[in-house]
């Protein structure tokens, strides 16, 4: 009998990551198609209350242990291995984020099986699983049919809308005894927060985001003017932050902040996957880039193939005059 579909519910610092819901939605689809249950696996310390939000799953396995308080890949892998052996799921869907990176590889080795990474979609075809995995920075997609059980699949963010992973019901929760120890070799010390400064970009409704296409740090001011006119803030992609044009707290992307504003204006951003991860769920995405082939245009609803420095001042002007007209009306 084929086992259940498991989803590793990712939590970090007491909160469930959004990707957890995305993967739950996927897991539910797969479980239904395969005719089995969906189980969420929650690891951490004092995280049981979070399990209540995992109602999309048929049940939750809660692995609570002090050694799981901070993410160390080896410990998570050690914790999961015996219960996987004992309960034989047929698939384990693992989020690929900075929090959980590495767990899938280690877990696969502990179990003596392989894993499939970079999955942007998974389907059940004739009772077996098939992934579409992204390769070479998005230039190719591979169709992979895992032949082993369980299939350990690394799932990319954005695989399903997170809303589809929500459920009102509270799932049954099973406390599972965890047989791990604190690592003798790795000791967690502390978190270092980025300097927030005055603006929390995750709370902004409008973001004007700048990338390398801006060419010069002097031009950030032009973007800031537009942001101000629209009542929002400036943020940027990783290269821009690495260069020091904006502080770390303004970085959008996989290693930065994930934002979902009403308007995300990507100015001079190419649309690398690590950046897109951080903004793809924005309500309205408008992209400006001189390169018509830039990947950002697959994510945006509207695009302009033009020089950012040509367009931003004109746009700022138009927005301002419109607001003036409104205020006089």
């Amino acid at each position: 009998m084929a086992g259940n579909v498991w989803v590793l519910a990712e939590q970090w610092r007491g909160q469930l990551s959004e990707i957890t819901y995305e993967v739950l939605a996927l897991g539910k689809e797969l479980a239904t198609a395969l005719g089995c249950d969906l189980q969420a696996v929650l690891l951490g310390h004092n995280v049981k209350p979070l399990a209540a939000s995992l109602g999309k799953a048929d049940s939750v396995l809660c692995l609570d242990h002090s050694a799981l308080a901070t993410p160390v890949a080896e410990i998570f892998a050690h914790a999961l291995t015996p219960i996987i052996r004992a309960r034989s799921p047929q698939a384990i869907l693992m989020p690929l984020t900075n929090v959980s990176l590495g767990v899938a590889s280690l877990l696969a080795e502990e179990l003596g099986i392989g894993c499939v990474n970079f999955c942007r979609d998974v389907r059940a075809v004739d009772g077996s699983l098939q992934t579409r995995s992204v390769l070479y920075g998005g230039k190719m997609e591979a169709i992979v049919k895992p032949a082993q059980r369980p299939a350990i699949l690394g799932i990319l963010p954005g695989v399903r809308p997170p809303d589809e992973g929500l459920a009102e019901t509270v799932p049954p929760i099973e406390d599972v005894t965890v047989d791990v120890q604190e690592s003798s070799s790795i000791r967690w010390k502390r978190y270092i927060e980025p300097e927030i400064g005055d603006v929390d970009i995750s709370k902004q409704e409008v973001l004007v985001s700048v990338g390398r296409g801006l060419q010069s740090p002097d031009n950030v001011a032009v973007a800031a003017e537009l942001a101000e006119a629209l009542g929002g803030a400036v943020c940027g992609s990783r290269p821009v932050i690495d260069q020091g044009w904006l502080p770390l707290s303004r970085q959008v992307g996989k290693s930065g902040v994930v934002v979902k504003p009403k308007l995300y204006l990507a100015a001079g951003i190419s649309g690398a996957p690590e950046h897109v991860e951080g903004m793809k769920n924005s309500e309205l995405i408008i992209a400006i880039n001189t390169d018509e082939q830039a990947p950002i245009f697959h994510v945006a609803q509207y695009g302009i193939a033009a020089d950012v420095m040509d367009l931003l001042p004109a746009l700022t002007e138009a927005v301002r005059s419109r607001k003036e007209v409104k205020s006089h009306a």
């Binding site: 740090p217 260069q243 420095m309 040509d310």
Partner: protein, 654 residues
């Protein structure tokens, strides 16, 4: 008149005193000069004895003729006078000295020979006037980068003293003259003036002696002081001009870079000694103009200090590059060569920058933006980081396929340059030219994906190894291709192919800029303007086409042929003001210290001309830099940048 050399001063004959003073002066002078020579002897060798005839010509034009001084006309005229006055006075001085040291010689003093005395006096007066002009200019209307230093003041005063003492001596001589020796011009006038002022003729001989000694001592003192001051340029400049760089590309000989005294060549160090600190280089420099850290004059000054402050035997390993000259100063240079073009003593600022850039690169110390560009160039043959296979994408919307010079023989091989191929804003201009030439049935071809960056700017950022690599590959590729002549859209490609690719065998393969080709086509009627374009335009001379290679007229002939009205900017031809993109600066990130950019200064200059609609360019980097500058200065409505190819197509199209 008494003979100053024989006259007894408190029992000591004049010539004894003269011998003593002369020996002291010569020793002090000789010691310092010897020291300089020994320091230079420890520098790297460099052969500058080629083309002797040309070198002599340079000395005649630029030392005797003082040509470059006349770029600034007023002080040019003044300095011309001062220079020739100096020549004349130096001659008469040594004559007097010789006569004074060896009184037994039966020759007159120079001021005893009528026509010599007159000439000396007349020129002396002119020189005093010129000196006043110089002093007023330096101390009241001080130009940028001209210092009101003690050294300068002392020099002016010493020269004044030399002149005035000589003139005064002539005046006293005239005053003491009997009726028989009629007064001569200036001397006579001054004699009359002294008489008017109540100087008694009885005192005139004594005063004459005093003036003579003041004159001789001042000059001897000046001589001794010379090698310690900026006036060393008096001695050094004829040599710096004679040993000037004769090659157009202004590159130093092959090296791994220099940062210590013994790593520079003797000619590079000599620039420090020949410099008169006139500041023309600073006033010409586009980076300096915009507040960038670079000051060509300071650079030369640092080299002078390097030579002066170190022991003659070896450098103490002091970090000249790093401590004294900062890397950001070196990276700010656009290699536009305005400094070298204006320098009256033919100093070599760019080779110094090149040597130091080579050293920085060899240590991996390159500014942000450059590693990426260089890695892309090494790997993909272009700085954009795009695949080589996309080099000919611009041809896709042409409507015809240009010939492939790798496969079939063409008359002209068109080497486009990476900007013309890859830059999205420039591809339409490239197509413009392609269509125009095609319609005129010019037999040309391109080499499609086999084209790589020519390496001109790679060389200018100091990456000689990468330049070698590119040159090898390009040369091998071109040797396989089939063509007569080569033309290019990019002056940087033009410069390096013409001057730095010896294997291209220019005799067999004429290298042309596309404006030269267009001009010839118009001249021969192969291109005809269907109508005259009713525009008023101005033209920017690219650095690597104009100053480096002397091509000023061809683009203007093309403009004439298409009928536009050309209004020249104040800084045109040799004086053209760099767009700021050369020397690899277009790859580097902005210095951030400048208050503006050279390109902005230039577009403002263009926009200041009445009624000018287009700023015409013939270099792709100029197009990119000026288009950006129009935006950042807000001048977009007033002026547009056009490549000459666009205007030609418009004029020629039926």
């Amino acid at each position: 008149m008494p003979d100053p050399a024989i006259f007894n001063y408190f029992g000591v004959p004049g010539y004894s005193l003269l011998w003593l003073l002369t020996l002291i002066s010569f020793l002090v002078f000789g010691r310092q000069v010897t020291r300089h020579v020994r320091v230079l002897a420890h520098a790297r060798a460099e052969n500058r004895w080629d083309q002797i005839g040309k070198r002599i010509g340079l000395v005649v034009t630029n030392v005797l003729g003082q040509r470059r001084l006349f770029d600034e006309p007023l002080i040019g005229a003044a300095h011309f006078v001062i220079f020739w006055a100096f020549v004349l006075y130096a001659t008469t001085f040594f004559w007097s000295l010789f006569r004074g040291l060896v009184p037994a010689m039966a020759i007159p003093y120079p001021d005893e020979v009528a026509w010599i005395a007159t000439s000396v006096q007349v020129i002396g007066v002119l020189a005093v006037v010129a000196l006043c002009v110089a002093a007023v200019r330096r101390y009241i209307f001080t130009p940028v980068s001209l210092e009101r230093s003690w050294d300068a003041a002392i020099i002016l005063l010493l020269i004044a003293l030399v002149l005035l003492s000589s003139l005064a001596g002539a005046g006293f001589r005239a005053l003491a003259a009997t009726e028989g020796e009629s007064s001569r011009s200036v001397g006579g006038f001054l004699g009359g003036l002294f008489a008017y002022l109540g100087v008694s003729p009885a005192h005139a001989p004594t005063l004459y002696l005093a003036a003579w000694w003041i004159h001789m001592i001042t000059v001897l003192g000046f001589l001794a002081y010379l090698p310690y001051s900026k006036h060393l340029h008096l001695l050094a400049s004829p040599f710096s001009v004679f040993f000037a760089s004769l090659q157009p590309s202004k590159m130093p000989p092959a090296s791994e870079g220099a940062s210590r005294l013994e790593e520079f060549t003797w000619r590079e160090l000599f620039s420090g000694l020949a410099c008169a600190e006139c500041g023309r280089c600073d006033r010409a420099c586009p980076s300096f103009d915009c507040g960038d850290p670079l000051s060509p004059k300071q650079l030369i000054h640092h080299v002078k200090e390097l030579v002066l402050t170190l022991d003659s035997v070896s450098s103490h390993g002091k970090t000249f590059l790093g401590d004294v000259v900062r890397p950001e100063d070196i990276w700010a240079c656009t290699t536009c060569a305005s400094c070298m073009d204006r320098c009256p003593v033919f100093n070599e600022h760019i080779p110094l920058v090149m040597e130091m850039r080579r050293k920085l690169v060899s240590e991996g110390q390159v500014p942000p933006g450059l590693p990426e560009a260089l890695n892309n160039l090494a790997r993909y043959g272009n700085s954009f980081g795009q695949s080589e296979r996309k080099r000919a994408v611009w041809t896709q919307s042409l409507g015809f396929k240009p010939k492939d010079a790798r496969k079939e023989t063409v008359q002209w091989l068109w080497y486009l340059g990476e900007y013309a191929c890859y830059h999205p804003g420039l591809q339409s201009i490239t197509r413009s030219l392609a269509r125009t030439l095609y319609a005129a049935k010019v037999d040309y071809g391109i080499v499609y994906e086999s084209e790589r960056n020519s390496g001109n700017d790679v060389r200018r950022v100091g990456e000689e190894g990468l330049f070698e690599l590119l040159r090898q590959k390009n040369t091998a590729m071109l040797q396989q291709a089939h063509f007569d002549g080569l033309f290019t859209t990019d002056p940087h490609v033009y410069n390096t192919f013409k001057n730095e690719y010896p294997e291209l065998n220019h005799g067999r393969h004429p290298i042309r800029h596309y404006t030269e080709l267009l001009a010839t086509l118009f001249d021969h009627g192969e291109l005809k303007a269907a109508r005259k374009l009713p525009y008023r335009v101005t033209y920017h001379d690219p650095c690597y086409l104009g100053r480096y290679n002397g091509v000023y007229d061809a683009p203007r002939r093309v403009l004439q042929a298409i009928g536009v009205e050309l209004a020249e900017m104040p800084r045109s031809r040799r004086q053209s003001f760099c767009c700021g993109g050369g020397g690899g600066r277009i790859w580097m990130e902005e210095a951030g210290q400048a208050h503006s950019r050279p390109s902005e200064s230039r577009v403002r200059e263009a926009a200041s001309l009445d009624g000018v609609r287009y700023l015409v360019v013939t270099c792709p980097k100029d197009y990119v830099m000026f288009t950006d500058a129009l935006k950042t200065t807000g001048l977009e409505g007033k002026l547009l940048v056009k490549d000459i190819a666009e205007l030609v197509e418009e004029a020629v199209a039926a």
